[in-house]
């Protein structure tokens, strides 16, 4: 029996107060060793275009947070507060079913994946969504289970913030300062209101867009390859099916098996791209994982040779103008060669 003086519980729990008592909180992780990559369910890519964000702004800076190698931005959807993963590899808005389960379903589609996060992707409408000064009303969103993402990263994930939410905006992803800068553009792709500040880019490169997903042409081992720009990828990905000349320039540094519910799982290779060139700039080396991108290519309706993820976006400040269809990069001082 335990007794608490002052508060007599039915089981006689007593605390004698000497001073104050305080609960414990989480410890911050402090590791940096990469282990097994896991691929999480993402989006139905064929989302209907979302209207431009409302809100009284010409340019806005949104603070980014990090969870692992994911960029998070905080906002509300119909008064539910949480984080979105900034996901340029998604075409639209994807919401976590945990918090948006009771909405009326407009449409649905069978989903599934190797990691076991099976489920139906449904489409709903949310009334109002806010991220900093960006306000969206009557937004169409896919809803799918994302609880496993939360469980792996320990943060509340409302959903994935895809490209159609950023249409007609210049997007500047500044990984060094952890901020996302957005600027409204006119029909010619020039910033509204204020004259564009002349930025001296280390690299400028053409962007192509298909189904709202951004692609760039890169060169590896002298072969021209199509990579999508994907902030939702915690690592770069190189297709295992790219030509031998390209694969031959990659050093394999590790091999692992992907755990999944499918029979046999799958082999994942970790490596370093030693001959990666974007525009005229050759990158010294960039880490990547190597795996098949066949299914993703099928979904995009476009053959994909690779994905530029966190390792790429952490190289510097990335400017994306989808009206001018151009990308500019200001490399971090230590990345300049």
């Amino acid at each position: 029996m335990i007794i608490r003086p002052g508060f007599l519980f039915s089981y006689h729990l007593i605390f004698i107060a000497f001073a104050v008592a305080f609960p414990l909180v989480n410890q911050a992780g402090n590791g940096s060793v990469k282990a097994v990559p896991v691929m999480m369910d993402r989006v139905s890519f064929a989302g209907k275009p979302i209207a431009d964000p409302q809100g009284n702004f010409i340019g806005v800076t949104i603070p980014l947070k990090r969870a692992g190698h994911l960029f998070l931005l905080e906002g509300t959807v119909d008064n539910v507060i949480g984080n979105f993963i900034l996901d340029t590899g998604s075409s639209g808005l994807v919401l976590n079913r945990t918090y948006f389960r009771n909405y009326m379903i407009i449409d649905d589609e069978e989903g599934g994946g190797v990691t076991g996060s099976t489920g139906v992707i449904a489409r709903i409408n949310v009334k109002r969504m806010m991220v900093a000064e960006l306000v969206y009303t009557d937004v169409s969103a896919d809803v799918t289970p994302l609880g496993h993402l939360e469980n792996r990263r320990g943060v509340k994930i409302l959903g994935l913030f895809g490209m159609s939410l950023l249409q007609n905006l210049e997007i500047v992803i500044d990984s060094r300062n952890n901020e996302l800068n957005l600027f409204k553009l006119d029909r010619n792709g020039n910033r509204l209101g204020t004259p564009s500040t002349e930025v001296k880019f280390d690299i400028t490169h053409k962007i192509e867009q298909f189904n709202n997903i951004m692609f760039v042409k890169v060169s590896i081992g002298g072969r021209i390859l199509d990579f999508c720009l994907d902030t939702g990828a915690e690592s770069n990905v190189l297709s295992i099916d790219v030509p031998r000349q390209a694969l031959g320039t990659v050093t394999i540094t590790r091999r692992s098996n992907l755990l999944g519910v499918d029979e046999g799982g799958g082999e994942v290779l970790f490596g370093t791209m030693n001959d990666f060139t974007l525009g005229t700039r050759k990158f010294g080396s960039m880490e990547t994982i190597l795996c098949s991108l066949t299914a993703l290519s099928d979904k995009y309706g476009f053959p994909i040779d690779g994905m530029l993820g966190y390792d790429f976006f952490s190289q510097g400040k990335i400017y994306i103008n989808l009206i001018k269809k151009v990308m500019g990069i200001c490399l971090k001082p230590d990345e300049r060669q």
């Binding site: 007593i14 008592a21 800076t61 031959g248 540094t253 692992s256 098996n257 519910v261 994942v268 370093t272």
Partner: protein
């Protein structure tokens, strides 16, 4: 001559060792050659080096042994490998067939690396350090009452909005707006004693508190400001002649220089954060070590001297009614690693009791009455079954699970991520037709279910749930900082 021969031997040994080391570069042994995964091994590698290669490339020891034995063809469950000798030392292992599907960055995948996550949004454990003293050059953070702290950002009057973000609000970027004042931006928030990290967000841009010199690495190339919310004050009256007074104790490893006290109105004072628990301490007055004259609680230090002692936190009084004939009753639990010879209870007129300080948390314990382990008959909360059942105690619980209805159930268990989904875990008790169980939970996400007479159900009153790998659901609970 003998010495020269020895030197040559040593040199030879060093050279061979060096050659061996120089040839082992674990990141340079694997490439894809003509579409085939190809390894180049060196027979001079040590067993440890071979093991390292096996670990890095997920090659099991049997496969490696056969490869080093140059077995021409090796058949695994999903792979067929060929082996050939390249020269005297080098062996090539080449994957000729891979029957496994291969990892697929499939049609709806978001790529995650399953590393430990490092983040600006990482919560700081406010009790992660035993003590702390602030280093503010201006009162940018001030404790204004017992549980309220005011944060102040001078200037920036032209900014449109300023937010405070830190470990106290889960690093939310939108939940703690600061209010403009005539000289800057200000916000007052409730804080419990402890350590906190924070930043300001000025018009969307992260900024440090330039008046706070106490910082720590934010793991992203920058730093966070650190603030300690104080809960204790050391005071030494008198000694006004002294030039320097230091407080030292078990909390700072008896550091003799670090915590200098300040002379205020005829006494020496030091405010600080001190983690709850029991602390031994002394004052050092101009190099002379003294106990606290105002504190009667002293205990031997084992070296012929005495130390002063303070206890911070709540003390629980464990008690066991009856057992008047018992010779010895011991308290044992996971809080003392189930030590059965440490916490001897004292005999009272009605039974046995022992005061003991415990930090907020969830604990299991038993009494040992003359060698016999028993659960606490006065505590209805237990975990486990039969002989492995323990009494359960939650100190400062912050969430109560309530299962309504099911009043006719015989047995209801609470199981979730907080106890490793233990099926014999927390046994709920019935109160006024509901089943309840209180827990102390750290901030974060928890998933859970109830097991009602062996049937798993989600919490019918919690609308938050998520799909699980069994095709059913788990209830979801978020505990805020």
């Amino acid at each position: 001559m003998r010495r020269s021969a020895d030197n040559i031997l040593v040199l030879f040994f060093l050279m061979t060792t060096f050659i061996g080391l120089a040839q082992f570069n674990p990141t340079n042994v694997c490439q894809i050659v003509n579409g085939r995964l190809t390894f180049t091994f060196d027979t001079r590698w040590t067993p440890a080096q071979r093991k390292e290669i096996g670990r890095l490339y997920d090659l099991d020891s049997a496969l490696l042994a056969e490869a080093f034995a140059v077995k021409p063809v090796i058949i695994e469950k999903n792979n067929i490998w060929t082996v050939r000798r390249l020269d005297n030392y080098r062996i090539e292992l080449s994957q000729t067939k891979n029957k496994s599907k291969g990892a697929e960055a499939g049609d709806r995948k978001i790529i995650l690396l399953d590393d430990q996550w490092i983040s600006l949004s990482a919560a700081t454990d406010r009790e992660s350090v035993p003590y702390g003293v602030n280093r503010l050059t201006r009162n940018s953070v001030v404790k204004i009452s017992r549980d309220k702290v005011r944060f102040f950002l001078p200037g920036h009057q032209d900014s449109k909005n300023v937010f405070l973000s830190g470990s106290f609000n889960g690093w939310s970027t939108i939940q703690t707006p600061m209010q403009p004042s005539d000289s800057g931006w200000v916000v007052t928030i409730p804080l419990k004693p402890g350590k906190y990290t924070y930043k300001f967000i000025i018009d969307g841009t992260w900024a440090n508190d330039s008046y706070n010199k106490l910082t720590e690495d934010d793991t992203q190339g920058g730093f966070n400001s650190v603030f300690f919310c104080y809960n204790y004050r050391f005071v030494l009256n008198g000694y006004t002649y002294a030039k320097k007074v230091v407080v030292t104790g078990s909390f700072n490893d008896w550091n003799e220089k670090e915590l200098q006290m300040i002379r205020i109105n005829g006494k020496w004072v030091l405010h600080l954060y001190l983690r709850e628990g029991t602390h031994a301490y002394k004052f050092i007055v101009d190099n002379e070590w003294i106990t606290d004259p105002a504190n009667k609680i002293t205990r031997p230090d084992g070296k012929g001297h005495e130390n002063s002692f303070i206890g911070l936190g709540d003390t629980l009084l464990f008690s066991l009614k009856g057992y008047p004939d018992a010779k010895k009753v011991v308290l044992s639990g996971n809080f003392n690693a189930w030590n059965s010879g440490e916490l001897f209870m004292g005999k009272t007129s009605g039974g046995w009791q022992l005061p003991y300080v415990l930090a907020p948390g969830n604990y299991e314990y038993k009494y040992i009455v003359d060698g016999e382990w028993i659960t606490d008959p006065g505590n209805p909360y237990t975990v486990g079954n039969g002989e492995i059942a323990n009494s359960f105690l939650s100190v400062m619980p912050n969430h109560t699970f309530v299962l309504e209805q099911h009043s006719d159930a015989k047995n209801v268990i609470l199981s979730g991520s907080f106890n490793g989904w233990n099926e014999t875990g927390y046994r709920m008790i019935e109160r006024e037709g509901n089943w309840i169980f209180s827990l102390y939970l750290k901030p974060g996400k928890y998933t859970y279910k109830y097991i009602v007479d062996s049937k798993w159900i989600i919490d019918p009153t919690n609308e938050l749930w998520e799909e699980n790998e069994y095709g059913t659901g788990n209830s979801v609970l978020w505990v805020n900082p």
